[in-house]
């Protein structure tokens, strides 16, 4: 049970605190309600590039990292399609330095052409390192736009291509900051060795003076219903062929989200998942296979990916996967198996709670979803999913006409 207190400052900043006396540290998390789904399709990658620029200093504090390190702190950040998140851990008695630094860069940052140019290079190297210079690195760059035709989830957070990153101007950056970075578009959470009173006092002192801003109105095109199967075949110089599949599901807050997440655990949770047991161990068609849910706020995907054993026909591998999906739709899951995936979810949740940073991020995320109490109630929601709900959800979503399949063929495979 994670106890927390919550206030909302006059400028709209939401502040949540969970006190944990067992640690000498405090974790501070700021979530901005902006991700790559908020980008203009002609300059994608902005949200992530911007995250890099947030470490470039401000007019009043030119070196962000230096001050944090002097206080014994550490920090990092990530961007995904829905959010941009910044996090810090500090020894408890230096936490005010975190407030000073984070409020300062929420207030304003130093928009310099030089910093922008360097970070463009850094991000382009990140793009090269993650997507171009890795075997299978481009698979998601191919699968997402196959599944999404209009919704911004069709491009990756880092940007559609390096041209977009290169073409970003200082004016784009300024506009982006003032329309997304604001107290009324952010959630601040503190977890660890800090009392709620102290946290609220510091939040008021440091973030209170920042004025509300005009947040860009979110106007995201919704993805039209997919009505027929989509297939893309590519050939690449990789050691083994690989299969990728994606099915559309509902938004994060749909009641069947939990059931679908459990379905991916039935399929691929641990070594005892059905895909591994049947297709790796028994039939020996794949060397590895995995399935997961994307957890996006707008309607997301169930994604399945597997590396095929050399010599096995990719269509045969795909048929075998489809038979396993079919079994979930047709046959009642044995109770013990159902219990297994629920237990596993619950224990993962408990292990996750040993980490203050995890708790800070989760609290912020559930607040964004509209109900921070979910940090405690979600286990129950998973527990409430039953066998008939599994069949129902599988029948509703895991259909061919709702599926995009990427055949990623190895040119080295003899077949």
């Amino acid at each position: 049970m994670i106890k927390f207190s919550r206030i909302c400052l006059a400028n709209g900043l939401k502040v949540l605190v969970h006190e944990d006396r067992s640690t000498p540290l405090v974790a501070m998390n700021i979530l901005y309600d902006v991700g790559s789904r908020d980008e203009d399709p002609s300059i994608t990658g902005m949200a992530h590039l911007f995250e890099h620029l947030m470490f470039g200093g401000t007019l009043s504090i030119p070196e962000f990292d230096r001050h944090l390190q002097i206080a014994g702190g550490e920090n990092n950040a990530f961007t995904n399609s829905d959010i941009t998140d910044y996090y810090i851990t500090l020894p408890a008695n230096n936490i005010e330095t975190g407030f000073w630094l984070e409020s300062d860069r929420m207030n304003s940052i130093d928009f310099s052409q030089k910093n922008l140019d360097i970070q463009k290079n850094v991000v382009i190297e990140e793009f090269n390192q993650r997507y171009l210079n890795q075997p299978y690195g481009d698979a998601m760059l191919l699968l997402k736009p196959l599944a999404y035709t209009v919704h911004p989830y069709r491009w990756p957070t880092i940007g559609m291509d390096t041209g977009h990153i290169n073409n970003t101007t200082l004016q784009n950056i300024k506009d982006f900051f003032f329309s997304h970075y604001a107290p009324d578009n952010a959630i601040l959470t503190l977890t660890g060795n800090i009392t709620p009173d102290n946290a609220f006092r510091l939040a008021e002192k440091w973030f209170g003076p920042i004025e509300k801003r005009i947040i860009a109105k979110r106007d995201i095109p919704s993805e039209p219903l997919q009505t027929e199967e989509r297939i893309l075949t590519v050939e690449r110089d990789v050691p083994a062929s690989s299969l990728y599949k994606a099915w559309h599901i509902g938004p994060r807050l749909n009641s069947d989200f939990f059931t679908l997440d459990l379905i991916t655990d039935l399929l691929a949770g641990g070594e005892s998942g059905r895909l591994y047991t049947k297709l790796v161990r028994e039939k020996k068609l794949f060397t590895e296979i995995n399935a997961y849910i994307t957890s996006d706020i707008d309607p997301g995907l169930v994604i399945l990916q597997g590396k095929i054993i050399n010599g096995v026909d990719i269509n045969k591998a795909n048929d075998a996967v489809n038979r396993i999906i079919m079994a979930i739709k047709e046959k009642i899951i044995p109770s013990a198996e159902m219990e297994k995936v629920k237990n596993k979810y619950e224990s993962a949740n408990i292990y996750g709670n040993t980490n203050i940073l995890n708790k800070a991020l989760n609290l912020a995320y559930y607040e964004l979803l509209g109900n921070p109490e979910m940090i405690n109630s979600e286990v129950e929601l998973y527990r409430n999913s039953d066998q008939s709900m599994v069949i129902e959800a599988a029948r509703k979503y895991l259909n061919d006409n709702n599926c995009s399949t990427l055949f990623y063929k190895s040119t080295r495979d003899s077949r």
Partner: protein
């Protein structure tokens, strides 16, 4: 735009406080157990660690394959049943086979401790090495190997280890695709019976510890046994290669991987703390000189990192990065420039102050929560050290002088000793 005007809050010097001590007990049969009481949740992280790393193998892949086969079937459970049960009770595990040690780490809920320890003793002492599972594992491993061979980072790292430790030593030997055909079940089984023995085992438990924890460990691991005959001979010392610069070309890549470094001292050496500090300054944190120069000022790379690592018979220090091909040589020049600077010009006190506080903050994080404490404990214990090592490190972080850093750079970063590996 209004200028933000509230003054900077004061900063308190970072204090690592008291490091939690591990309680050392022995099971009825003398197996050493370390108990670390920490955390708020009713869970345990249990590590079973053996002297069974690749240092003990006479064939490449032997130590790691033996380790991976532990959960592929036991006396009473097929692989499928075993994993189903481990999952059913909400436990997570990871098998590890490193250069020196191998074993398994299991995370479990204390309410299922009995069941999990029962399974753990089967996994460790009664695996059956079934043929079908062995074939599957080898196919999987070959597939990982072939994929990893495509990555410039892995190519550079493999060559780096071969260069500094030699291709005749398990620390340095590169795996080839033929090695996947040279293992059989009897080899695995005899490696297992030789090295996965009670006298070769240490158990480290962290989390909520109860009387029942030790009772159950005694029940499943404390039975008497016949000590196996003789101890494994000590392996010979690694031998570095003559060739200092190796470039492995990989057509079609957009980046090259750089690995620059050499063999070095390990944690047991009195100079290790200052070498650690020097390393952080050079490339061990986000504000390091290498990151500032090569990423933040030049934009040649997404990240450049340097680290100092301890092994039982040696150690190694390495600077690594993946850089745009057109900047590879420039990046290497800048690395040498930074090393040269460290040897000639004493660090400014304000830079040193950042390092001191950052590193002390890191030390606080290293002992935050049961999982982190267990890992920190383990990485000192492996070298026969205890918390006094960490107190010594903290003391050195607080008191090191710029001259000492310069001297350390001269001793341990001799340009002529460095290996320069490029892949891509």
């Amino acid at each position: 735009m209004k200028k933000y005007s509230i003054t900077q809050p004061p900063v308190v010097p970072v204090d690592i406080g008291t490091i939690p001590e591990a309680k050392n007990i022995r099971l009825n049969n003398n197996i050493p157990v370390f108990l670390i009481e920490a955390g708020t949740e009713d869970i345990a992280r249990i590590e079973f660690t053996f002297n069974a790393g690749s240092i003990m193998e006479n064939l490449p892949l032997l130590a790691s394959t033996t380790n991976l086969m532990l959960t592929e079937g036991t006396r009473n459970h097929t692989a499928g049943k075993l994993n189903k049960e481990l999952d059913f009770y909400g436990s997570f595990y990871h098998l590890f086979a490193e250069k020196d040690r191998a074993g398994i780490v299991i995370y479990c809920l204390n309410k299922h401790l009995k069941r999990i320890l029962g399974l753990a003793s089967e996994i460790l002492f009664h695996p059956v090495f079934p043929q079908a599972e062995f074939k599957t594992i080898m196919k999987k491993r070959l597939s990982w190997y072939l994929i990893n061979k495509e990555k410039v980072h892995n190519i550079a790292m493999d060559q780096f280890f071969e260069s500094i430790f030699g291709n005749n030593h398990p620390y340095g030997k590169k795996v080839t695709s033929e090695d996947f055909n040279n293992l059989d079940l009897s080899t695995l089984s005899s490696f297992h019976s030789r090295f996965y023995t009670p006298e070769n085992l240490t158990i480290i438990v962290a989390g909520k510890i109860n009387k029942i924890t030790t009772d159950l460990l005694d029940l499943y691991f404390g039975q008497s046994y016949n000590p196996s005959a003789g101890h494994p001979e000590s392996p010979k010392l690694p031998e570095r290669q003559k060739e200092r610069k190796v470039h492995i070309a990989k057509p079609g890549t957009v980046q090259s991987a750089i690995a620059l470094g050499c063999g070095t001292i390990n944690k047991r050496h009195p100079d290790y703390p200052q070498l650690k500090i020097l390393n952080v300054l050079l490339g061990g944190y986000f504000g390091s000189r290498l990151m500032k120069n090569i990423r933040e000022e030049k934009g040649y790379t997404y990240g450049i990192n340097s680290s100092v690592n301890s092994l039982d018979l040696s150690g190694y220090q390495i600077i690594s990065a993946e850089v745009s091909k057109k900047y590879t040589q420039k990046a290497i020049e800048e690395i040498y420039k930074e090393i040269d600077l460290l040897q000639r010009v004493p660090a400014e006190l304000n830079e040193l102050e950042i390092i001191r506080n950052y590193m002390l903050g890191e030390m606080v994080r290293m002992f935050d929560g049961p999982f982190a404490i267990a890992e920190s404990f383990r990485s000192a214990w492996e070298f026969g050290l205890d918390n006094s090592y960490y107190y010594r490190l903290a003391e050195k972080i607080k008191t090191i002088e710029p001259d000492e850093i310069t001297a350390t750079a001269k001793t341990y970063y001799k340009i002529n000793d460095l290996y320069e590996i490029i892949a891509g």
